[in-house]
């Protein structure tokens, strides 16, 4: 078990390395980073000075090796824009994004799982149709548009919640809804499909033949099995959410990692972008890894040889 955890961990590292190499190549290949550092009003003199200072005249591979060496010791370089250690900036912003991501995935799960179960228990019923309809409609609403509409309705018209910022829990309500609703259809559908499949499984028939009551059949026997793929999906979705928080954070002016990413893109702050891509991918890898462990705990078939 330990050996395989290690192997899995090694694989995760390889994935992270590949992602970082690809992104480094992409980012540093395009354009002269010195101009980005110098900023909008900088003169030509400034730019030449910066090129020399940061060593952008060196081969890309050397620059990557340099970066990687630093990254391994936790030093992700300095932000060209803030001139602060990237590690500091990113960890500073991550809190909001992780909070938002956790809230959003919880929102999605709390909404989607009961809906999926209800839909599966009575296929083709009104509940099922409503759930399917919601999921189809939900998938088709662009989140940026949805966010703006929510601001107009709930913040401006009704004045119930603040439009932007992250000062209190109230500030998180709208972003959570916008970020969470997008994952809801997928989770709902998987729960429904899983439940449908499980409910027609032989062991559910066995459970019914044992005379167990419906609640026990649904929640002890069926949901436990149906939820296993949902865990994996939720992990993947959570990883996506962190990356997808860019749009939401920029609309709601949440100063999280997503907003930082967007801003870094518009100001060409490559070390921060590079670090964020790495961090987001690490999160994704971490979540899927945890989901695998959780699944192993839930499903003894995966656990014991």
């Amino acid at each position: 078990m330990l050996l395989f955890t290690l192997k899995r961990f090694g694989l995760a590292i390889c994935v992270a390395l590949t992602v970082s190499a690809i992104s480094f190549g992409l980012l540093y290949m395009a354009g002269d980073p010195a101009v980005a550092i110098a900023g909008e009003n900088a003169s030509s003199v400034d730019i030449a000075a910066i090129t020399a200072q940061y060593g952008f005249d060196r081969p890309l591979l050397v620059q990557y090796a340099d970066w990687l060496g630093g990254a391994l010791t936790g030093d992700l370089g300095r932000s060209w824009y803030f001139d602060l250690p990237v590690t500091q900036i990113v960890t500073d912003r991550l809190g909001v994004t992780v909070t938002l991501g956790a809230l959003a995935i919880s929102f999605a799960l709390i909404l989607a799982i009961p809906m999926g179960v209800a839909a599966a228990v009575r296929p083709n019923s009104l509940i099922d149709r409503a759930a399917l309809f919601l999921s189809v409609v939900g998938q088709a609403i662009p989140s940026f548009w949805f966010g703006l509409i929510l601001i107009v309705v709930f913040s401006i018209k009704l004045g119930l919640v603040p439009a932007s910022g992250s000062a209190s829990w109230k500030h998180f309500i709208l972003p959570t809804v916008v970020l969470g609703y997008y994952a809801t259809p997928a989770i709902m559908r998987l729960t429904r499909a899983g439940m449908l499949e499980v409910l027609s499984a032989d062991y559910i028939r066995t459970a019914r033949a044992k005379g167990l009551d419906t609640r026990k059949i649904l929640f002890k026997h069926a949901l436990r099995n149906a939820i296993i793929p949902v865990i994996s999906l939720a992990a993947v979705q959570m990883g996506f959410m962190l990356g997808g928080s860019i749009v939401v954070e920029s609309i709601f002016a949440l100063h999280g990692a997503g907003y930082l990413a967007w801003e870094s893109i518009s100001r060409n702050d490559l070390p921060v972008m590079q670090a964020l891509i790495l961090v987001f991918s690490m999160f994704y890898i971490l979540f899927t890894f945890l989901a695998d462990l959780l699944n192993a705990w839930m499903d003894p078939r995966l656990r014991v040889g």
Partner: protein, 502 residues
């Protein structure tokens, strides 16, 4: 009025009714930046917001009176030109920094020495590299030695060159200053969350300078990138003042009748630069007639009226009218698409041509220009990109035609613009030796009239040759909440210390 219209109207009513108004009571003025400021250290940021903080937290030796345009003493009480490259300053006595450090000549010397040292990596070298060094005469007298005669020195000293406390800066460096700024200014920093949140408080011990003390005790600045979100917060009363509001929104806000909308001119000038020197390869733009055709083809006044609006003006100068030595009596080309077509035909492009067109801001303006060019047969492929990327390509000479703007760092001298674009540097698309020569002559003389003459020569030739199509000056819309009193100025600088409650 259709039902939908009425619905819209009622939305507006609801908006207005839902407004909170607790700010005056709490004594806090709420403002928003629309971008994250990289650092509060003014020498290490290039953002407009940084300049605003500069004026609030620090002081320069001089101050430019926004109403008269005259230079007044600020940290210096008096100054004299000893010779074309030496200025002597008499410093104000009894001034202390926010941390209690006393302001002396040492602070000036330290600041000048620090920022002019290339090893320290100051970002806006153009702001400081004209200074050679500073010499302390006594505790309150200092001499500034220039590298060469520099007519715009006073403007820079009233603008970007802030004076830092020498002991504190030596101790914490740019990073420390970035997160815990210390200056002499009318406002001091109470809280700072880098890039996200600034809280300024009135400096009770502010000296009796031309800026004046802040009437408002506390200013809270958040970063809200989206204009709509800003306006939404403004409606909710959680923002008290907006600036850089786009023309259309400003009009609508004004029409609501509850808010004061002030439009002020800005130093920023928009222009189209064309690759007349042929750096990007064989191009129709090397032909003067083609460039003139483009000048004729674009209806600058209509763009201004429909999109830019406000106090902007169409210009033909490659600099802003408010800038010193920026002559305005220049030749021009009226909007005349027929003439444009004729010129094109004369140049051998009767059927027009297709060209790459670059831009980095104000996409609607760029699109409008493209529409006009299209009407005379010039098809354009828009490449809308980040400023850094565009500038990089421009510097490499790969950009045939681009819509750019330049704000001159609010330095009110023509050289802040022409030096960058017409002196043979990497962003000089004209590479006209005559113009280069005139500008260099102008910038090395202290004779103001002679200087103005050279500038006029250069600016005239730029128009005659149609190296650029200067478009218009920019303007800024300021929207004031119902209980705010503030008079915006025409230099794109929001003076935080000049706000007051009604």
């Amino acid at each position: 009025m259709t039902p939908a219209r009425m619905l819209l109207g009622s939305t507006c009513l609801a908006l207005c009714a839902g407004m909170a108004n607790a700010d005056q009571a709490s004594g806090t003025l709420n403002l928003a930046f629309s971008k994250e400021v990289e650092t509060a250290d003014v020498y290490f940021n290039t953002a407009r917001e940084g300049l605003l903080l500069n004026h609030a937290i620090w002081d320069g030796l001089l101050y430019r009176n926004p109403e008269t345009g005259a230079y007044e003493g600020n940290l210096a009480t008096d100054w004299t030109w000893i010779d074309p490259t030496t200025i002597e300053f008499k410093l104000r006595e009894g001034v202390t920094f926010h941390n209690g450090e006393a302001f002396t000549a040492d602070d000036v010397v330290y600041t000048v020495d620090y920022v002019t040292n290339p090893d320290n990596g100051v970002k806006n070298l153009a702001n400081v590299m004209w200074m050679e060094r500073a010499e302390k005469i006594d505790d309150h007298t200092v001499r500034l030695i220039l590298k060469a005669p520099f007519p715009a020195a006073e403007d820079f000293l009233a603008g970007p060159v802030a004076i830092y406390p020498d002991e504190y800066y030596a101790e914490v460096g740019p990073q420390g200053m970035g997160v815990a700024p210390i200056g002499t200014g009318p406002l001091k920093v109470a809280e700072l969350d880098p890039g996200k949140h600034f809280v300024l408080e009135a400096n009770e011990a502010y000296f009796d300078g031309p800026k004046g003390a802040s009437a408002i005790g506390r200013i809270d600045i958040r970063t809200i990138p989206d204009v709509n979100t800003q306006i939404a917060e403004f409606f909710n009363g959680t923002l008290d003042f907006l600036w850089n509001v786009p023309a259309d929104q400003a009009e609508k806000l004004e029409a609501m009748g509850r808010y004061e909308v002030v439009n002020a001119p800005a130093m920023r000038v928009g222009y189209i630069s064309m690759d007349a020197a042929g750096r990007s390869g064989e191009s129709p733009l090397t032909d003067k007639r083609v460039r003139q055709a483009i000048y004729h083809a674009i209806d600058r006044q209509t763009i201004l009226d429909a999109l830019v609006k406000g106090s902007s003006k169409v210009v033909d100068s490659a600099c802003a009218p408010v800038q010193t030595a920026c002559a305005q009596d220049l030749p021009s080309y009226e909007y005349d698409p027929e003439k444009a077509k004729a010129l094109l035909a004369e140049a051998g492009y009767a059927d027009g041509f297709t060209i790459d067109f670059y831009a980095y801001r104000d996409r609607p303006y760029a699109e409008a220009m493209m529409g006009f060019l299209d009407a005379v047969g010039i098809k354009t492929n828009l490449n809308y990109m980040q400023y850094a990327a565009l500038r990089e390509q421009h510097r490499k000479g790969e950009v045939p035609m681009t819509f750019l703007t330049w704000g001159s760092n609010s330095v009110a001298d023509a050289s802040a613009m022409t030096a960058e674009f017409f002196t043979g540097g990497p962003q000089d698309d004209a590479r006209d030796p005559e113009i280069i020569d005139w500008i260099q002559q102008a910038d090395s003389t202290t004779d103001k009239e002679k200087r103005a003459g050279h500038y006029k020569q250069a600016l005239t030739k730029i128009v005659e040759e149609a190296y650029w199509v200067p478009l218009f000056t920019y303007n800024v819309n300021y929207v004031l909440g119902p209980d705010i009193a503030y008079t915006p100025t025409d230099d794109e600088i929001v003076r935080f210390f000049a706000f007051d409650w009604k």
